[in-house]
């Protein structure tokens, strides 16, 4: 009976095309939402990796290097360097600021000693070698040799780094430690963290060792409510998609009641009729899922930051879409099972 189901799809193609379009938009949104969440996760992973540390030491009790409000003396790096397991230790300053380009842009700033840890992999140019130099994220549209002003300080762009953003695509500037200290601590020799090459087998008094994963968790914490909201919206979108598919299949089952009655009266099994309806739901969902991939790719560049849809999201969308289609068609399937073959005779 699958042929009958497919012929019915052809017959009602206009309605099914509209349903596929509507559902694909919803599925496309879920893909984009998934991409947003993945981007937030990837940003955190990349920026922590860009620092190139094996461990992070922050003031005892501080939540982490990205959200701490308790600075530590930059000189603590020397004490940390002496801890067994540590090959190298450098102070790090992390802050959030703005600059004019000429419009005001939010930027993240990471300050580290030139030649030490905290210098990102470069796309072009060279690393910061002295005060007054900066490596900028390519998203800012700057080129080596450009000059920028940051809170009254003139800096020269000497290099560019790719995809070093965090907090919803906010680009990062990598400065010399003393420039960052000037911006964050009015020039005092302070830092928010000491980063190390090698994993310390203990922490000097007043400091606490964090792993890269803990540093990422610290970075992601302020975004938790946002990512949870996205997950909630995603769940709602799945419900909307289920509603569209379910109502289309239910409507089809309602309109085809006499057809089902005729099939039952002529010896078709309930199972074969259910298979036909379920097949329609699956075809609709799968077509919408495939179209959704195109829609998501089309819409993704329109977002203000890079949407990174993980490759596994596509097959997963297809699988979940088919599942949603089947679940959503339950009401229609129930309707089909309930049809009495006597209806084919027009009563009773």
């Amino acid at each position: 009976m699958w042929r009958v189901a497919l012929r019915d799809l052809q017959w009602r193609r206009r309605r099914f095309v509209i349903a596929v379009l509507a559902t694909s938009l919803v599925f496309g949104m879920t893909l984009l939402m998934t991409g947003v969440n993945a981007s937030l996760y990837n940003e955190g992973r990349r920026i922590v990796a860009a620092v190139g540390a094996d461990a992070w030491l922050v003031a005892s009790g501080a939540p982490g290097p990205f959200t701490t409000s308790t600075p530590i003396p930059a000189a603590a790096a020397d004490r940390v360097a002496a801890v067994p397991g540590v090959v190298r230790a450098d102070p790090l300053v992390i802050l959030h600021s703005t600059m004019r380009l000429p419009a005001v842009r939010d930027v993240n700033i990471i300050g580290a000693p030139p030649g030490g840890l905290g210098a990102p992999p470069l796309a072009t140019g060279r690393a910061v070698a002295a005060s007054g130099e900066v490596v900028a994220d390519t998203a800012l549209g700057l080129r080596p040799g450009d000059r920028i002003e940051l809170s009254g300080r003139q800096l020269e762009v000497v290099g560019l780094a790719d995809r070093v953003t965090y907090y919803f695509g906010t680009p990062t500037l990598f400065l010399a430690l003393q420039d960052a200290q000037a911006l964050a601590f009015d020039g005092q020799p302070l830092a928010v963290a000491i980063v190390t090459e090698g994993i310390p087998r203990g922490a000097p008094p007043g400091l606490e060792v964090l792993s890269n994963r803990q540093a990422r968790v610290d970075l992601e914490r302020p975004l938790a409510s946002g990512t949870q909201s996205i997950a909630f919206i995603n769940a709602l979108l799945w419900l909307v998609a289920a509603g569209i598919i379910g109502s289309i299949v239910y409507l089809s089952a309602l309109e085809r009641q006499r057809e089902f009655a005729v099939f039952k009266a002529t010896g078709a099994s309930n199972r074969s009729l259910l298979f036909g309806l379920a097949l329609q739901a699956v075809v609709l969902s799968a077509a919408a899922a495939v179209l959704a991939v195109g829609i998501a790719r089309l819409l993704a560049p329109g977002f203000p930051f890079t949407i990174e849809i993980p490759p596994q999201a596509f097959p997963r969308l297809l699988g979940v879409a088919v599942l949603v289609g089947l679940v959503a068609s339950a009401a229609g399937l129930r309707r089909a099972v309930g049809v009495q073959p006597a209806l084919a005779f027009g009563g009773p």
Binding site: M1, V4, V262, A265, T266, G346
Partner: protein
């Protein structure tokens, strides 16, 4: 075609619920149709023609009685045996064709074959043979919307023959056709009734009478014969007539009291009227050839006189018939 013996219906009573009441369109029906015959179930709307077809198609289960089609006790079929019977033993031509609008003529005929998991190529060949047989060779790819009423009816007949069943049922096959289309369909139905196959046609169209080997009248002629009134006595609790029974007489009450009750689906009764001497009851059934829609029962010892519908009309006059209908008791 499977080997065919007779259709044998014995003491068939069919009831179903309608509007909260029990309706009994078929009450103690006996019918035998032999292989190669075309039987006509003739009657007005509501006389139970389609109900008998539904029971023959094993779609309605009777309240009592038996239906045998060859060696098969149709009333005892369940599960897979029921599906097999519907699939292979009986083909139905439904009243409004009931073709699937999304399928071409060929696919409509193929659909029952697909349901039986016949290989696609074989199903296609079979469907084309059948459509050729009903004269639709050139219309294989047309959907029902692109076919005339007569062509749709012929597709429906071809579909009914898909599994070459020994029993073909046709419900009002001429209902939606003009006289030119009727001719072709009648010829086709007559041809189907060949040795090894039985065709049962339900219709109210008396033009089909010459077609039939056997005719079953399911409703009595309205305003029938005249015969002397019958004077009848009933003890308290005795039934004058029962809901669902065939109507024959209109009664006037000479003495005693008669209650008119209607049986509900839950088994309880609803009192419709309590009638005394001088009142009449049971006039609608005989006047319109309908079955009794309620039960009449003596409350006290009662004496009634029964008139045929013709005599009752003569007795009260045409003008009072209208009045009788307005304040009718069943």
């Amino acid at each position: 075609m499977a080997e065919m013996a007779d259709v044998d219906i014995r003491d068939l009573t069919i009831e179903y619920a309608s509007g909260g009441y029990v309706v009994r369109p078929i009450d103690h029906l006996d019918l035998t149709v032999q292989s190669g015959e075309l039987a006509l179930l003739l009657g007005a709307s509501g006389s139970g023609k389609t109900t008998v077809l539904s029971a023959l198609a094993a779609i309605l289960r009777p309240a009592s009685g038996t239906i045998r089609v060859g060696d098969v006790d149709v009333t005892g079929l369940h599960g897979a045996a029921l599906t097999q019977y519907r699939r292979h033993q009986v083909g139905v031509v439904f009243q409004t064709f009931n073709l699937v609008p999304s399928l071409s003529a060929r696919d409509n005929v193929q659909a029952p074959l697909w349901a039986a998991r016949m290989p696609a190529r074989q199903a296609r060949t079979r469907a084309e043979e059948l459509l050729d047989r009903v004269g639709l060779r050139e219309r294989l790819g047309h959907r029902p919307g692109g076919l005339s009423g007569g062509e749709q009816q012929r597709v429906a007949i071809a579909r009914a023959l898909a599994h070459d069943p020994p029993l073909v049922l046709a419900d009002e096959p001429t209902a939606h056709l003009d006289y030119i289309q009727v001719e072709g369909v009648l010829r086709l139905l007559r041809e189907l009734a060949e040795p090894g196959r039985i065709v049962v046609v339900a219709t109210h169209d008396e033009r089909l009478l010459p077609l039939a080997d056997r005719i079953v009248h399911l409703s009595r002629p309205v305003i029938g014969e005249s015969r002397p009134p019958e004077r009848l006595s009933y003890e308290p609790g005795e039934v004058v007539f029962e809901q669902g029974a065939r109507s024959d007489l209109v009664y006037t009450i000479e003495d005693g009291e008669i209650e008119i009750v209607r049986q509900r689906v839950d088994g309880t009764e609803e009192l419709l009227a309590l009638l005394g001497p001088g009142r009449y009851f049971g006039e609608l059934g005989p006047l319109f050839g309908l079955r009794r829609s309620a039960t009449a029962r003596a409350v006290k010892q009662a004496a009634v006189t029964g008139y045929t519908a013709r005599d009752f009309r003569d007795l009260v006059g045409s003008a009072r018939i209208a009045e009788a209908i307005r304040r009718a008791s069943p």
